[in-house]
């Protein structure tokens, strides 16, 4: 299969008042089409920076990001983004929030088609009947579901998620993991998921990429072999010996990564 996302030798530093802050150092990631890459790493190591580079919101100092065989120089209409904060627009209904990307990407699409597309997704994530509600009327988990719908409403080929479930309680989070698998079965995106939850990375990822401490480089890549039942990943699978072993490996890797985090933040 074609590698849909290719990050080649990406190096990046931020200019700060205290000088250059190197954040990414010769980072390499490849994600085949249709696959799900989970990225874990110590806090502040540069995970969000990576998402902004993949989205084309920033250019790396060195190295290249390729999406679908094209070098990324600026934002592309075929990318979807979701964040820890659902960032729904309070003055729009849930339906109109989901439609928002279509207004940019497909300005000539008839409103009826936009509504049909948004309703299809809202139904899929269990938000049917909430179309006309305001974001403030929904729970945190429901808002994040709406935010996920918005991030894929325009059928992006790449979905970038930066700790989308990080602010949710454990049970809601597990519900959303399952919703994520449901969406994957229906929608053709390739995904990068930043997370700080190792169980989440194993349950959702086809590969888990462990980043080292800042400046982040690819420290370890785990190929996930999830115990499947009826071709499906069940939550109970997380308690299988296979998953326990993968989780133990990841935990060890995170410890190594954390050991490399410089004690004091600031310039190198």
């Amino acid at each position: 299969m074609e590698n849909l996302i290719e990050i080649k030798g990406v190096t990046h530093a931020y200019k700060t008042p205290n000088g250059l802050l190197p954040v990414l150092d010769d980072l390499n990631v490849t994600v085949p089409e249709g696959e799900f890459a989970a990225v874990v790493g110590p806090s502040g190591c540069g995970k969000s920076t990576l998402t902004r580079l993949v989205a084309g919101l920033m250019k790396p100092d060195e190295g290249e990001v390729w999406l679908h065989g094209e070098l990324v120089k600026s934002p592309r209409k075929t990318v979807g983004m979701a964040f820890q904060n659902p960032v729904l627009l309070e003055w729009r209904t849930i339906l109109d929030n989901v439609i928002l990307p279509l207004e940019i990407v497909a300005p000539s699409m008839p409103r009826a088609d936009r509504i049909a597309r948004a309703e299809e997704l809202l139904e899929l994530v269990g938000l049917a009947g909430f179309e006309d509600k305001r974001p403030s009327e929904l729970s945190g988990g429901m808002r994040q579901r709406a935010s996920l719908c918005r991030s894929i409403v325009h059928k992006p080929d790449v979905l970038i998620m930066d700790e989308p479930f990080g602010a949710l309680d454990a049970f809601t989070r597990e519900d959303l993991w399952q919703t994520m698998h449901k969406l994957r079965a229906q929608e053709p995106f390739t995904a990068v998921l930043i997370t700080h939850d190792l169980r989440e990375s194993v349950y959702l990822g086809d590969q888990v990429i462990v980043l080292s401490g800042r400046p982040a480089t690819t420290q370890y890549v785990l190929d996930v072999h999830y115990p499947m039942e009826d071709g499906e990943r069940k939550l109970d699978g997380l308690y299988s010996p296979e998953c326990a072993e993968m989780l133990a490996t990841l935990r060890d890797q995170i410890k190594i990564a954390q050991g490399r985090v410089p004690a004091a933040a600031g310039a190198a």
Binding site: R52, L89, P101, H154
Partner: protein, 254 residues
Amino acid sequence: MKTVQKIAVPMIAIGLFVAFWEFIVWFNGWPNYVMASPSDLPAAYSKFWNLFLSGSWQTLWRTVAGLGLAVFFGTLLGMIMGFSRVARDGLYPLLVGFNAIPKATLVPVLALLFIGEHNFNTVLMAFLISFFPIAVSVGIGLSTLEPEYRDILASLGASRFTIFRKIALPKTLPEFFGALKVSVTLAFIGTNLVEIISPHGKGLGALFLSGQTNSNYPLMFAVLIALAVLGILLYYCVVALERIFAGWAERPHQ
């Protein structure tokens, strides 16, 4: 029931206030030239009703014109400061300094700059005194927009203008209207300041001044009450606009 209460409670409050005022004047035995009492006012209104009408109109349109300018240029300044760090660093001290100048000192300056242009001077003062809160609130609203709000559209290649129109602008509306409520009162003060201080002025302020020169104290108090009514009217117009354009920001009760 709810609406009756919403109207009745302020009415009763006003009634109590007027009664208290009447009582204080009666209790102290103050004559008219020390302090007019509410019962003196109807006579003043009926005697000078045409002056009140034309004066109110003068004051009203110049206040609204000044406020309109303040909205336009205040928003523009706010946008410049909100989008550019350099502009913010450069403009902010200037604006704060300008805002700190007591505006009464500007009346003679403007009068000399634009001799005889009474309408223009008044509108200009209403503008000068009221644009600051709008500029600051729009500037802060835009500069504190969380990056994720920008990124949901920026990641699709949307232009800065589209992001402004679809996200930044509506998101700052609640702050904008908060500032507008302050500005409308300030613009009103600015108009009256010029009307009262400059000779041969127009509007309610000039009527107040003529009451003063003729020692017609009931007239002066009648003007004050008319100003208060006009101020309340303007304020609630802004509140109504806020309901229409930023009603979504109001949390539903309970």
